[in-house]
């Protein structure tokens, strides 16, 4: 039987007039035909690599790496009502996943309740809808908060969602110091890349530091910020830019917390990172290695941290959503496997593998299972976990690691000269660098200089579509009705007092977490508390650079 014809034309024979083919990474770094000791400048093992679990941590964050503890398999999930997502959480736990990762819907992420006019059409679409503590209660029903590690991907409304998680623990009699997990809460990368914000950078940073300060004292096992390159890469950056802007953001948070009066060694070990992992296997492995070495250097040399645990960059990784294709979606399984392997060879501490259908819609249960199984196959069958940093010492990998480090430090120097990351963001510097890189890559794709299999090469006529998950419009109606009902059932005098306490803490510069926790206990909502931020701090508008 004849299969579908490929649309790609055979390559024309090379002619001397044509430019020589360039061999580059996905980020367009030129690669040598072969790497030799001459590319290592010079190879100082103890200083530049060190043993796994030793400064500068190039070879891994822990001595025994995956023999001691596998990376955490953490599939991000969230859609529809809190009950829908709770069912998905329980499914993932039953399939051997020990850690949870919560995706919230856009209204929740942007600080609007489900019944706000701006939430129309978006409730429960890209994540789960949570407007008040009652929703949080349903989301984590029958999940033992003191025995799971929970990640919550939320930023400009993070203080409110974290307050709800803490309030829920208090209701269940679980002390906050027994809670383990991570809240993304990385506002700097929001301004740079993901672009979900409420107030301008300065007050946004103040709220982040309030949360670092609160967690350092009351919830010491909680990671109050997950410094994220993921979205920077998804927005189109190169690997070196992802590395540079992520670590520059990290520098921004550490600097701000130190200026608040915190001792760097009291909070540094609770900062975590979140990197993308794209298709270019060697470049990605080098990126993770460079990230650990750079962060260790920054913490020791720049911030004078004294404890070894403050030097260690611990990172979650997620395969690159932007690399997946709607065409021939089964190919995405292979891309995700290569990317996941790169994350493991790079020494990631936690990993989410994307589902093959995520470019089309939220993933179905079957697609999520294949994604989780991909990690389990790497862990249990591939053998790469047997030894730490198995690619360490490769001339190519070491040379690429050095090169990404040099490029990223050059960016960090430029940002320092601008006056720091907040100033650089205000000037639009990282945003423009990323937009330029994204456009450059798109032009390369359009000219066929970069290949995406099934899209600009080996394309076929439309295949049978995958079955995708659809979120019914009913979710929005039900959620809106619930939020309205609950608002009616509250004691409005108490609600008013609790909101007033949040407002005065916001105005007077006191830590916002205690009054927000008190407010959510009384069912004050995400929208109501975000409105206080809008009122007191003002609203940030997209500068809309092209």
């Amino acid at each position: 039987m004849k299969s579908a014809q490929t649309a790609a034309q055979p390559a024309p024979p090379a002619s001397p007039a044509e430019p020589e083919r360039r061999f580059t990474t996905v980020s367009d770094l030129e690669i040598e035909p072969v790497y030799t000791p001459a590319h290592l400048d010079p190879f100082r093992y103890d200083e530049r690599l060190g043993a796994p679990g030793e400064y500068p941590y190039t070879r891994g964050s822990y001595p025994s790496m995956y023999r001691g503890k596998l990376w955490t398999m953490r599939q991000f999930a969230g859609f529809g009502t809190p009950e829908d997502t709770n069912a998905r959480f329980r499914f993932l736990r039953a399939q051997g996943q020990a850690a949870l990762s919560t995706a919230f819907d856009m209204p929740t992420l942007m600080g609007y309740d489900a019944d706000h006019p701006r939430a129309r059409g978006e409730v429960g679409r890209e994540g789960v809808a949570v407007s008040s503590l009652a929703d949080m209660e349903a989301l984590f029903a029958d999940i033992p908060l003191d025995r799971v590690s929970t990640s919550m991907t939320v930023n400009c409304s993070a203080s409110i969602l974290l307050a709800m998680y803490f309030a829920l623990a208090e209701r269940r009699g679980i002390p906050l110091d027994r809670l383990g997990g991570t809240i993304q809460n990385d506002m700097l990368k929001e301004f740079i890349a993901q672009k979900e914000w409420i107030c301008p950078p300065e007050p946004a940073m103040r709220i982040v530091v309030d949360m670092i300060e609160f967690c350092t004292t009351h919830a010491p096992r909680w990671h109050a910020v997950s410094i994220s390159g993921y979205h920077i890469r998804e927005a189109g950056s190169t690997a070196a830019q992802e590395l540079a802007f992520t670590l520059a953001d990290g520098i921004g948070y550490v600097q701000a917390a130190v200026e608040r009066g915190l001792d760097v060694d009291d909070f540094a070990a609770r900062l975590s990172f979140f990197f993308n992992v794209h298709n270019d296997l060697l470049e990605e492995v080098a990126k993770f290695r460079a990230a650990r070495r750079m962060w260790a250097t920054i913490m020791r040399e720049r911030f004078g941290a004294r404890q070894a645990r403050s030097y260690i960059l611990r990172t979650h990784a997620q395969t690159a959503g932007c690399s997946l294709t709607a065409q021939q979606p089964l190919n995405n399984v292979v891309r995700v496997a290569i990317q996941a392997l790169a994350a493991v060879l790079g020494g990631a501490n936690s990993l989410h593998t994307n589902s093959m259908d995520e470019v089309l819609a939220l993933p179905t249960e079957a697609a999520v299972l294949t994604a989780l199984r991909t990690q389990q196959i790497i862990a249990e069958e591939s053998g790469v976990i047997n030894t730490a940093d198995p690619l360490g010492g490769s001339y190519a990998i070491e040379s690429l690691t050095d090169r990404l480090e040099r490029e990223a430090f050059a960016y960090i120097d430029r940002i320092d000269r601008m006056g720091g990351i907040i100033r650089a963001i205000e000037l639009g510097f990282p945003q423009q660098e990323i937009a330029d890189a994204a456009y450059h890559y798109q032009r390369q794709l359009d000219r066929g200089e970069k290949i995406v299999v099934g899209v600009n090469k080996y394309a076929t006529a439309d295949a049978a579509p995958l079955e995708t998950l659809r979120v019914s419009n009913d979710v929005e109606r039900r959620q809106v009705a619930r939020v309205r009902e609950r608002k009616q059932a509250r004691d409005s005098a108490v609600v008013g007092q609790r909101l007033a306490a949040v407002r005065s803490a916001a105005r007077e510069g006191r830590n916002l977490m205690p009054p927000i926790i008190a407010a959510v206990h009384e069912e004050c909502t995400v929208g109501e508390i975000s409105d206080i931020f809008r009122e007191v701090f003002g609203v940030y508008r997209d500068p809309a650079w092209i």
Partner: protein, 134 residues
Amino acid sequence: MSDRRLRILIAKPGLDGHDRGAKIIARALRDAGFEVIYTGLHQTPEMIVEAALQEDVDAIGLSILSGAHMTLFPAVLELLHERGVDDLPVFGGGIVPPEDIAELKQQGVRELFTPGASTEDIVTWARTSLQPRG
């Protein structure tokens, strides 16, 4: 038909911040000789229609990756209809399933581009399908 440059509003409705596609399309159209006005993120349908009328554009391109396309495209079309401008072409791009594309085209969306479309496809479509208004 005038030979002035076509003016296109590239708009990003909804609450999400996925502006990579919108910005690439805005640049590609600008580089291809169109006059492009980019609204920036987090626009309501009301803001988009207001901007389109004020700027007197020849077409509106919406970029939607949040799953809210079945709410936002019809809202823009409806507002244009209320303002008496049924002839202003609306096109778009984003993650839109095939059955929704058919439905939206029936409602009056001129063209929808999905992931994998090249900027050249979009520029060619704009050159051949859009005309200066008025």
